[in-house]
């Protein structure tokens, strides 16, 4: 599904990721965890094609990434970022349906309502603008937007980073529910081991651009491979 072969990435002599070889499991949730600067966001952007590896090869949907045809590829992967990144000048309905517009210039359809219902947003929100919604509601809109074309792959870059604990819990449950209804491959970047434990089937631990451990979630927590992994677990679970 998603595979990296000896991938490195760096700017100006400084490597952010060094020699990664990973194969992510299809239809499972993998949490990518690490401290700030460990290279987790870079990893997602490499998979999305926003960044190109300086060495190695990225394959998505069992094909080496073709950087000249990223649009078709990106339409098959939902992408969520911290702070939602909703388009402030578009209504909620237009935001959710933007991928449809990119694909074939289609207008928001019944799918918008369906998704909003799924994440518990009233359909009366459709004509509203993002600024009229709370942070948690905006985050749900972000999920709807990422799921609009029902992509087989979902990339989530700390989607819950800026949320309060209660809203975060709600959204986490939403993700569990979604995965239960229709499994898909999800890559979830987080720095919170508890979140990883709660949501993920697998955990990839990065530290300074290198893989520390990549295993089933339960194994990582019960048998941390390195000191860096242990530190992360302690830091998250203590707080």
């Amino acid at each position: 599904m998603v595979e990296l072969t000896e991938v490195s990435h760096g700017y100006g002599g400084q490597e952010v990721l060094t020699n990664l070889t990973i194969r992510f499991q299809e239809n499972k949730i993998t949490a990518i965890i690490g401290k700030s600067g460990s290279g987790k966001s870079t990893l997602l952007q490499l998979i999305n094609g926003l960044l190109r590896p300086s060495k190695g090869q990225v394959s998505v949907f069992n094909q080496p990434l073709n950087y000249n045809q990223t649009t078709a590829l990106r339409l098959r992967m939902g992408y969520m970022v911290q702070g939602t990144g909703l388009f402030p000048h578009l209504t909620i309905a237009q935001n959710i349906a933007i991928a449809g517009k990119v694909r074939d210039n289609s207008q928001p359809g019944a799918r918008v309502n369906e998704l909003m219902e799924l994440v518990g947003l009233p359909s009366s929100y459709q004509p509203k603008y993002p600024y009229e919604l709370s942070g948690g509601e905006q985050q749900r809109v972000g999920i709807c937007r990422a799921l609009y074309l029902n992509p087989p792959l979902l990339l989530m870059d700390e989607p819950m980073g800026a949320l309060d604990p209660i809203t975060r819990q709600d959204i986490q449950q939403e993700i569990v529910k979604l995965q239960h209804l229709a499994p898909r491959t999800m890559l979830l970047v987080t720095h919170d081991m508890r979140e990883a434990k709660k949501l993920a089937d697998f955990i990839l631990v990065l530290d300074r651009g290198k893989v520390q451990q990549f295993d089933r979630a339960s194994n990582v927590i019960s048998e941390p491979a390195t000191q860096a992994v242990r530190d992360l677990i302690n830091a998250s679970l203590d707080s």
Binding site: T71, V102, R145
Partner: protein, 489 residues
């Protein structure tokens, strides 16, 4: 035989009908009157005449003539020798020869009056102090001398005059328009004047005798292309020696104090002096005149604005994609902005002549910077996260531009266009200086005649236009930009 004559006559008539003579005028009272005399004289002989009045001074007039945008305008020998040929003490004939040789231009014989600088005082003052000449001033160090700012600075101005006559007084600078009033109210004793100013006869002023011939001769004459139609030259020569200083002063006064139009004054001169009856055009109503000039003004403003939008917005987008070259281009458009309007308009003449085109080009150049800068700033101000999301969703560069970046940059972009539009409405009033018409004609003529109501006739519609543009853009923003994204207004 008769047939040949007939054919010959038709050919001549045809050639004449096809020939239009372009007459220019400097933007001051006497300039308008003399040009109108030339124009009506040529018309009475069957020539078609196009008038290009309000041209912004010697620089614009001479450039326009040199570049064949006009065929003839009235000029002064002193100006031609000092300002154009950069010679001093040149005989009239050698001046004419130099003009022909250097510029392919020619002058007629002088009209017969010398519109020189002169020093003037009131009749009372002259009687009381017995001052009749400039030399007489020497023995009165207590006199209050008020001089126009230009005269204080000119080569043929106060400093050299005082040196030549060894005058002990210090002169203060004041606005020429106020000098006559200051003189009659005895705030000052002596001021400078053009010897044919209408005010001299109006106030019965005494022109002090220039005993030592300090002031050069400023013989008024027709300046035209050397290859101007021979018949037209011959017709113009009928003005030779026909206007003396008194007559010119009187005509200037008729416009200033009797509020006659230039056309009326010119027509009455031609009928009394040369026995020529002319049909001066029917007076148009003020309302129609304002409406037609407002129309021209809008045409100038908006064609330039539209061209600037079509050029600067795509350029702004391109620079946004190529940030390396953007600074250089921005500096360059900024540089254009700093060129004074009149200078920019004068630069246009060799390339575009006079009239509508150079004005539109100049306004276009002025509109570039605000639109370009705001397009670029608007695009750059779009939240990088939103741009990243747009990429991540799979938008192409153009989709991102159309659906995300431009809509979010729109408030700033509109502000830039609005700024450009308001600048253009204001600057377009200066377009009158190169004969492009518009509301500036009222303003420029009004300034030359010190006629406030004429100035307001141009200034008020221009101000209203500026306000309407503000309102129009506010409405446009309402349509194009969602409420929460509008800038504070």
């Amino acid at each position: 035989m008769k047939k040949f004559f007939l054919i010959g006559f038709l050919l001549v008539a045809h050639a004449m009908a096809g020939q239009t003579i372009h007459v220019g005028a400097k933007h001051f009272n006497e300039g308008y009157i003399l040009s109108e005399i030339i124009a009506q004289l040529l018309e009475s002989e069957g020539f078609a005449v196009e008038r290009h009045y309000n041209l912004g001074g010697t620089l614009v007039c001479f450039e326009a003539l040199r570049n064949r945008a006009i065929d003839v305008y009235p000029e002064y020998s002193g100006t031609l020798t000092a300002e154009i040929l950069k010679e001093s003490n040149m005989e009239y004939a050698s001046m004419n020869a130099a003009l022909q040789e250097r510029y392919g231009l020619e002058v007629s014989a002088p009209y017969g009056f010398n519109n020189s600088y002169a020093l003037v005082c009131t009749r009372d003052f002259s009687t009381r102090t017995k001052i009749l000449s400039i030399a007489d001033l020497k023995n009165h160090p207590e006199l209050k001398i008020g001089m126009s700012y230009e005269f204080l600075k000119r080569e043929d101005g106060w400093e050299n005059l005082a040196k030549k006559y060894a005058l002990p007084q210090k002169a203060v600078g004041l606005e020429h328009g106020l000098a006559y009033q200051a003189l009659t109210e005895t705030k000052i004793d002596i001021t400078d004047a053009y010897s044919t100013d209408g005010e001299i006869s109006q106030y019965g002023l005494i022109v002090l005798k220039d005993d030592q011939n300090f002031f050069p001769a400023y013989q008024a004459t027709s300046l035209y292309q050397k290859n101007l139609d021979a018949r037209a030259k011959k017709i113009l020569s009928r003005l030779d020696g026909q206007i003396d200083e008194k007559a010119m002063q009187a005509m200037n006064g008729e416009v200033l104090y009797e509020k006659k139009t230039f056309a009326e004054v010119a027509a009455s001169f031609l009928s009394t002096k040369l026995k020529i009856t002319t049909q001066s055009g029917q007076p148009t109503s003020v309302a129609n005149d304002v409406i037609s000039k407002t129309g021209t003004h809008l045409l100038l403003t908006f064609s330039a604005l539209l061209a600037a939008i079509l050029f600067a917005v795509p350029l702004g987008i391109w620079l946004y994609w190529k940030p390396r070259v953007s600074n250089g281009i921005l500096y360059f458009t900024g540089l254009l902005q700093t060129i004074p309007s009149i200078a920019l308009l004068a630069i246009m003449i060799p390339v575009f002549g006079i009239g509508t085109w150079p004005a539109i080009v100049a306004l276009f150049l002025y509109a570039l910077l605000p639109i370009l800068r705001n397009t670029l700033a608007g695009l750059r101000s779009v939240d990088p996260l939103v741009k990243k999301v747009a990429d991540g969703i799979g938008m192409t560069r153009f989709q991102k531009l159309k659906w995300v970046e431009l809509p979010l940059a729109m408030p700033m972009l509109l502000t830039g266009i609005r700024t450009a539009a308001v600048i253009n409405v204001g600057t377009a009033t200066l377009a009158a200086f190169i004969g492009a018409g518009g509301l500036g004609e009222f303003i420029v003529t009004g300034l030359a005649l010190n006629n406030t109501s004429l100035i307001l006739r141009g200034a008020i519609p221009a101000a209203v236009l500026a306000i309407l543009i503000e309102i129009a853009f506010t409405l446009l923003e309402k349509v194009w930009v969602p409420k929460h994204l509008r800038g504070s207004k």
